[in-house]
Symmetry: C2
Amino acid sequence: MSLAISPLAPATFPLLPPLAGVRFASTSAGIRYRGRTDVLLVVLDPSTTVAGVLTTSKTRSAPVEWCVAGVRGGSARALVVNAGNANAFTGRRGEESVQRTAAAAAALLGCAPSEVFVSSTGTIGEFLPDHKITDALPAAVDALSGEDWLAAARAIMTTDTFPKGATRQAQIGGVTVTINGIAKGSGMIAPDMATMLAYVFTDAAIPAEALQRMLSDGVQTTFNAITVDGDTSTSDTLLLFATGQAGNPRDADLAEFETALHEVLKDLALQVVRDGEGASKFIAITVTGAESHRAARAIGLTIANSPLVKTAIAGEDANWGRIVAAVGRAGEKADRDWLSIRIGGVPVAAHGLAVPDYDETPVVAHMKGQNIVIEVDVGIASGRFTVWTCDLTHGYIDINGSYRT
Amino acid sequence: MSLAISPLAPATFPLLPPLAGVRFASTSAGIRYRGRTDVLLVVLDPSTTVAGVLTTSKTRSAPVEWCVAGVRGGSARALVVNAGNANAFTGRRGEESVQRTAAAAAALLGCAPSEVFVSSTGTIGEFLPDHKITDALPAAVDALSGEDWLAAARAIMTTDTFPKGATRQAQIGGVTVTINGIAKGSGMIAPDMATMLAYVFTDAAIPAEALQRMLSDGVQTTFNAITVDGDTSTSDTLLLFATGQAGNPRDADLAEFETALHEVLKDLALQVVRDGEGASKFIAITVTGAESHRAARAIGLTIANSPLVKTAIAGEDANWGRIVAAVGRAGEKADRDWLSIRIGGVPVAAHGLAVPDYDETPVVAHMKGQNIVIEVDVGIASGRFTVWTCDLTHGYIDINGSYRT
């Protein structure tokens, strides 16, 4: 199925600069797709550190389990990603596919297989023809370059309607370092077990432990603050590689880097929402006044995942009654009579009551726009969190009701 | 908006016999709808006992809070239900509307206001014009009769496309007793009760405590085992009234009654699913082999609420990969390599792998039918639970994207 580019897509793919210590190539292995690239090889200079956050699914794929072990090791030399087959629910044979892929790349690059990270995205339950990947690797090694990040982002797409990239710079101890990221995903889970994959690279020199702490923290308010349909996949993978080639002092303060990293993660995460299947509206939901930040997040995600809220927004209906209902069932502390709601900045409900005779004109105009802002104040404490999601439209049903047929 | 009758609707409304001690009338108060009844008054003979299960929402409506208090009292003389306005998120004024409604009915019937149960269903956040209800009550009292249960079921409908009723008989100590139930609900349906109203009446003589125990137990595998969209409402109400007019011995065994009660609850609950907004398929999901019954229920509900599973079924696609993903994210103990799935009785995945070369013909035929049967065996223990849901179609988007406009 060919899909039109999301109306919420950014105008252009950003210009990602070359990164010292990172070279890559994309190639066509014909795993599932024809006439496009479907394998990405990234080669990292020695001494590259790595951090990762991977799906907590109990049915996670063999590549995810491989990456979890690799992150524990803390160092990386390569990444191999294929699109079209998720190598999920493939048992022992799936594990062997990962091992063979890592071993082939390791042999070509002269590193340990445990330093090769492997991701697969696409159909579930089909054995991965890993020989197609390993056969393609030698030519990929010959074609390595640090230039074309757009091509790299394209090679990992499945039902994505646009490639996703982000870049930022920061200073560490007076040295400028760069962070580049690419991602794919069109839902927390895309049709037929595609997934959300994100790879972030920096030339900074940062020990694996510090890298992991910053990544784990950063994910909480970025990738763990988005939802398209509430479905978590078996393959979600976020990896952060630091090549150390920028030559920054290793004992310098990382605050500015951490801010830039957070911006890259948020940028990529919001692009995934903007490519949400069938999305016509981008929705930011900020919950304040909750018992804790955790409670605010739970309430925000309950609103964001409510099919009734999502369809109302698709219909450009400022139906705040459905938001009230979602707050009520979120399982967090709330009191009907302290709850207030703003839509597009306009108070529509306050302290448990509809705002009498509020001016509907700006609210109606806001609902017709592409960017919907919902603010919910629970009114009992100071917990605060923002989540991002998209609406639920006929397009979602079209895409997901007919993907395999 | 006028909706076509659900394709999953039963062929006919069942014949509910008159029940000693139960009289009712429906009337048109013009609260929101025109040209149809929207208020139901039920009058119960003295000595009627009552039990109830009500929404756990933190933003539950004033009528729900009133009923919770009434159930605690244990006795009932009347029920007043209106459709079109939920009297939810209406603060102190909402509470006063309930009090006035109960007081008016109590004055007409010569009972305590606390013995009058009140329910409202419809739009949230608008003040209830309760004078329209109280104005209509005297004529309703004059029109009381025990005959037309179909009319009673119709008066409480909102977006329902068909009226819902069920009846069973049982023996208590050699005396035949009857149980009649009516219900409404078609969206915002999820366990822990949603905008789902159900009233069950029996002529049996049963103390309130025993009634409550049987109702609370019965709900677990019936109303708390269904979901349409995972949205729980502010107004869910299930009440069970026992008039005691059948003259059964009060110390007799209630086992047969409890079985019949369970059947009525299940019958009504499944009718609510069959009227799920936009539903084209009725789906039964049985989870076995889970760590506990509770875990089996959690896994079953995660599958049932997955938009990806629901849209796949709408598209008649036996996409078991999405079921695997839902099991994986349910938060319950599971092991990819022990999981097995049957669709329409045909094993499609076993012990963590696709069943090689399974015959797709009967599975394709099954997916084209109206009743979809999914069996998931987690393979680790003996927890078991069945949940019921419906698919997610364009009809759901149509209904919920334009309900208020």
